[in-house]
């Protein structure tokens, strides 16, 4: 008989051993899948995971993809610690991109040091509002934040589509659903001579540090952690559940909105109907991979960003669809969730008792 037993002592490294096991299992399963498709696993994995990083261009692309993942991952890690399930970061990102992009287009051609901060502020506010809606509905009407934030994601994506097909469309763009290209003052500088890595990555790193500080040093972070770990204890301590819901969703919304405006001003350079390959959803994996530690979100974000590059590489060099990268992401999340049991429990063989 196999059963699980609560660990008497949990050590800090138990978490990371579980993560390591999950990573190994993911690679093993991915190899088996590749082998079943008649591909040599070792050389295929090398081609899709290692080779894309063999150039400045590749590293720069990696940083570009990791930027929104890390930024949003930090905010989600905070919210998930509090037990608030903001599944709609994707919508908050899109809203941030849309609002920030609209500001950029409103000030098109205007130069000045204040233009960029204003754009970033616009995007952050857009995301904040989109996060505030589920928070308000949860606190006021007890409406499930998972479903509300999820539904709002699709509303945001459709709203972006309306805007780039209509009011924000480039007047000289031959009716293509795209805005005009942002001017230089509304574009974040690139980090390297090649690839799309941009200043947003530095912001992402700052968010990770700030997030760690909030979790470790701020009373707010403590309150959110307690609320997530034990709602009853939080109630006795006098911490307000409503306040935690508000904070988690407002932080999640604002930061995701910021990630969205950074994505359009740093990476894309204009508004298009599709500004995110599900970064907002994938950031959930990042937060879990980091075991909700803001600082660990940095390597986790880089790793998941690599899976995006790997998808593109797989399409080019192996001829398998880029969407198969989601198999890898899904597997990784499955194994992470499955092995997280090992952190607080250990597997025992023998009789219960």
């Amino acid at each position: 008989m196999i059963f699980v037993e609560a660990r008497a002592v949990t050590r800090w490294y138990h978490e990371w051993i579980a993560v390591l096991i999950a990573l190994i299992l993911t690679v093993a399963t991915a190899s088996a899948l590749l082998a079943s498709l008649g591909l040599d696993p070792v050389s295929s994995l090398h081609r899709i995971f290692i080779r894309p990083l063999n150039s400045v261009y590749g590293v720069s692309e990696l940083l570009a993809k990791a930027t929104p993942l890390i930024t949003i991952g930090v905010a989600l890690a905070l919210g998930f610690r509090a037990g608030v399930w903001n599944i709609g970061a994707e919508g908050q990102l899109v809203m941030g991109g849309l609002c920030g992009g609209a500001v950029a287009l409103a000030f098109w051609g205007v130069d000045g040091f204040w233009v960029m901060p204003l754009i970033l502020l616009g995007g952050t506010l857009g995301g904040l509002v989109w996060g505030a809606i589920p928070a308000f509905l949860k606190v006021r009407f007890n409406a499930n934040e998972i479903l509300v934030s999820l539904m709002l994601t699709y509303v945001a994506i459709l709203m972006l589509s309306v805007m780039v097909h209509g009011p924000l469309r480039d007047p000289a763009g031959f009716n293509f659903p795209e805005s005009r290209l942002f001017h230089d003052a509304a574009t974040l500088p690139k980090l390297f001579s090649a690839g799309r890595g941009h200043l947003g990555f530095v912001f992402a790193l700052m968010f990770a540090v700030l997030g760690t500080w909030v979790v470790k040093r701020w009373h707010l972070g403590f309150e959110m952690r307690v609320t997530g770990l034990s709602p009853t204890a939080a109630k006795f301590a006098g911490y307000s559940r409503d306040r935690t819901v508000w904070m988690a969703l407002l932080i999640g919304g604002a930061v995701s909105g910021f990630a969205g405006v950074v994505e359009v001003t740093g990476n894309i350079g204009q508004l298009v109907p599709n500004i995110s390959p599900s970064y907002g959803f994938t950031a959930i994996i990042v937060a879990f991979l980091a075991r909700l530690h803001p600082l660990a979100v940095i390597p986790a974000g880089l790793l998941v960003a690599l899976s995006y590059l790997a998808g593109e590489a797989a399409q080019l060099s192996l001829g398998i669809p880029a969407a198969s990268t989601q198999v890898f992401q899904g597997l990784l999340l499955f194994f992470l969730l499955g092995t997280s049991l090992l952190v607080n429990y250990r597997i025992r063989f023998g009789r219960i008792g």
């Binding site: 899948l33 498709l37 399930w85 599944i87 509905l137 006021r140 009407f141 007890n142 409406a143 499930n144 998972i146 479903l147 509300v148 999820l150 539904m151 709002l152 699709y154 509303v155 459709l158 709203m159 589509s161 309306v162 097909h165 209509g166 959803f281 959930i284 994996i285 879990f288 398998i320 669809p321 969407a323 198969s324 990268t325 989601q326 198999v327 890898f328 992401q329 899904g330 597997l331 999340l333 499955f334 969730l337 499955g338 997280s340 049991l341 219960i352």
Partner: protein
Amino acid sequence: MDYGLLSSIIHAILVASTPLVFAGLGALIQERAGVLNLGIEGLMIVGALAGFATALAGYPLLMSVLAAALAGALLASIFAVLVLRLYANPVATGLALTLFGLGLAALAGSQYVGQAAPQVDTWAIPVLHHLPVIGHALFSHDPLVYLSILMAFVIWWFLKKSRAGLILRAVGENHTSAHALGFSVRGIRFLAITSGGALAAIGGSYLTLVQTPLFVEGMTAGRGWIALALVVFASWRPFRVIAGAYLFGSVTILQLHSQAFGISIPAQWLSMLPYIVTIVALVLISARGEKGLAAPGSLGKIFRVSR
């Protein structure tokens, strides 16, 4: 009014709504057992591929649908094991299921892109299908449309009239009490998850077998999320799932015909409606907190056996 057009629009609405009926019922049976499964989208697309591949191999419709159901049940059992046995977080696990399903279908389905499934026969209901207007609109469909409505009846009967259904609802309302009464919470939830997964996958297979007899990656296009919304909109009742699905289907079809009706607002505004209506419904249901309208008491909560 052109009755021929009206008739074909109603016909099209039923076809557009049927995947949502199946998937909505699949989500409903799980949620009544207290399981919130965000993996419906992944289950649907895997069902779409499994059904399509079986049909291309020359098997009859029944086999294709069964293959889809089996694929859905298998995929859902991964979710079940993680959530029920390993106490994994259900929200994240469901999301992983969606990602995995979408990726797996894209990977395994790339070889089928561009091929077309054989046409499914129409089962015209004797006598009734000769009726003017509604004959074509309602009584001259493929067998799966009728099956979807039958399933709603079966699930309604099961939940409302059968002892097993009562136990399932007890598990969903309060898993601690149900456990104390000696019911196997995990066993019942496992069955609910796998059968719900099978239903969602059948919904997906309708897309590739009937609606657009083609397979394209990502072709479920968010229908799994709409199905989840639908269950809330229907306040966890099977017949309201049908009503909701037809309403959602109507919006989709209306969008396609909006130009013909002289509606000139962008189609995206109409597409937003289902999501906004769902949020409003959710708020109304949650705010009133009426008995019988609210969500199952243990929905989405992790059940641990205490010793």
